[in-house]
Amino acid sequence: MRGLRQLTWTNIKLYLRDPIATFFTLAFAPFLVVIFGAMFGNDPNPIFGGQGSMDVSMPAYTALIVGSVGIMGVPITVGALREHGVLRRYRATPMHPLTFIVADITTNLAMALFGTILLVGSGILLYRVKFEGNMLSVLAAILLGGLALLAFGYLIASLAPGARSAQVIGMLVFYPMMFLSGSGMPLEIMPESVQRISTFLPMTYMVRLLRGLWFGESWGEYLVEAAVLLGVFVVCGGLAARFFRWE
């Protein structure tokens, strides 16, 4: 794994130099809080068991940020690196493919976490949102969900023929997921049919798991969600590695 530290550090710097990527991960979070806060407010509501809309939505927005990095960001960046011939150049070195992938995943997870911190920070500042869970537990769930959604993004990047198509597929998958998984709007206010579709979307499980842990429930009550995310990570990750192309 020689070069892993250097590649990760370089990736993070490059990420922060890209204004669009930086906007999406870092400014998107506070932006979400302001927009949804203005739309729904945070008054206690019986639908949410006496909590405010923002209180219950925080974990969902977290999933949204992690999902946008994984499902939209990864196919765009990996697709572009491949199409421009950057991956070809990496391949001409002794670097192991795994080094590239681990460095990239670490970068994206770090950025997603950073985005989450900004999200929760602005939620607390602007709407005094509640957090009743265990920090470490929630962090672990973000990492698990992050790995699953990143693996999903890498699978798209591996299968899509070009950079453009990777971008389009990423968006086609992400936007419906945003509305149907309960990450954009609470599923409770959605019709029955949407709630049924949501059971097929990996992001739904991340939303459920995070929401449970956020309000102090234990992993034991969310074994199904955790198992689904782990499964998505293993299957998509395996397929992505199997079909990964340097050129």
Partner: protein, 303 residues
């Protein structure tokens, strides 16, 4: 030790295109070996099979006696590669690129020294996309040398370089050889191959049509020398009847006399002076690799 690189009956087809059609050669340690040939001759395919980046359909390529596609990582550690086509992340800066690529190897050259040799010191903190074509090219050559490789592969090393940078590159390549390292390069410039390479393989349609030192290639084919001059209008003596002359071409005031034998110049000059022709700007042109290619394939290198 004989050949650092050994290629036997290498063949590679893409769908219906035969890119490399059964070629064999060896490259000795410490030599500058060049491969020339027109677009699509199969140079890149050959070089990338040796580097282990492409897999041949049949035959084999060996480097340090090993199969490059089976032992990629170990071999990649000992070789330097400049690809004909590749890129770096758009916002990666020159110094960062050297630092990053250096970190992939066990051994590292001094990055500042490399940047100095390649004239990139002032561009140290420029982003990749802000570099000119020639500067990008020089950066890729620096990356190919970052691990002090035993064998350096340079696919079209001077494409996009201005004449001054090209000459600097030749000096750099000679310097690499002086340190006992091996250079395998491809080029479109016959002059470059002639001046720089110890041995040259001429490739055409995936086959080696000739392989030798540039001097031997030129000598062996017994290619005509040329005598070029300007002559006034009017009749000329029958130069083509001279035993030293094989062919005469005249267009306007330009006269070109071809011949292989010694004494071509004096015979022609005597004949012209005897008939009182006031010729000017006389010069002889030695045959070069360009002529060798023409003689071997019946085509110009560049159409």
């Amino acid at each position: 030790m004989a050949g650092v690189i050994e290629v036997r009956d290498l063949r590679k087809t893409y769908d219906d295109v035969v890119a490399v059609d059964g070629i064999s050669f060896e490259v000795a340690e410490g030599e500058i070996f060049g491969m020339v040939g027109p677009n699509g001759a199969g140079k890149t395919t050959t070089i990338e099979c040796i580097e282990g980046l492409r897999r041949a359909d049949s035959g084999h390529a060996r480097i340090f006696g090993e199969d490059p596609s089976a032992k990629r990582a170990a071999i990649a550690e000992r070789i330097g590669i400049q690809l004909q086509e590749s890129a770096l992340p758009a916002r990666l800066r020159v110094a960062e690129a050297l630092w990053l690529f250096g970190s992939f190897y066990k051994r590292q050259a001094d990055a500042d020294e490399l940047l100095g040799q390649l004239g990139l010191i002032e561009k140290k903190s420029s982003a990749f996309t802000k570099l000119s074509g020639g500067q990008k090219q020089r950066l890729f050559i620096a990356l190919a040398l970052i691990n002090l490789p035993e064998v350096v592969f340079l696919d079209e090393l001077t494409t996009g370089l201005d004449p001054q940078a090209r000459r600097a590159m030749w000096d750099l390549v000679r310097g690499i050889r002086e340190q006992g390292r091996t250079v395998f390069l491809t080029t479109h410039f016959m002059e470059e191959a002639e001046r720089l390479c110890d041995r040259v393989a001429i490739l055409d349609h995936g086959r080696i049509v000739a392989l030798d030192t540039p001097e031997a290639l030129i000598r062996s084919l017994n290619i005509d020398k040329r005598l070029v001059m300007t002559v006034p209008e009017g009749d000329l003596p029958k130069l083509s009847e001279l035993p030293q002359v094989s062919r005469v071409e005249r267009s306007g005031d330009r006269l070109v006399v071809y011949g292989a034998k010694d004494g071509l110049a004096s015979a022609v000059i005597n004949a012209l002076e005897d008939s009182g022709v006031a010729f000017e700007d006389l010069r002889t042109e030695q045959p070069n690799l360009e002529d060798v290619f023409l003689a071997l394939t019946g085509r110009e290198m560049r159409e």
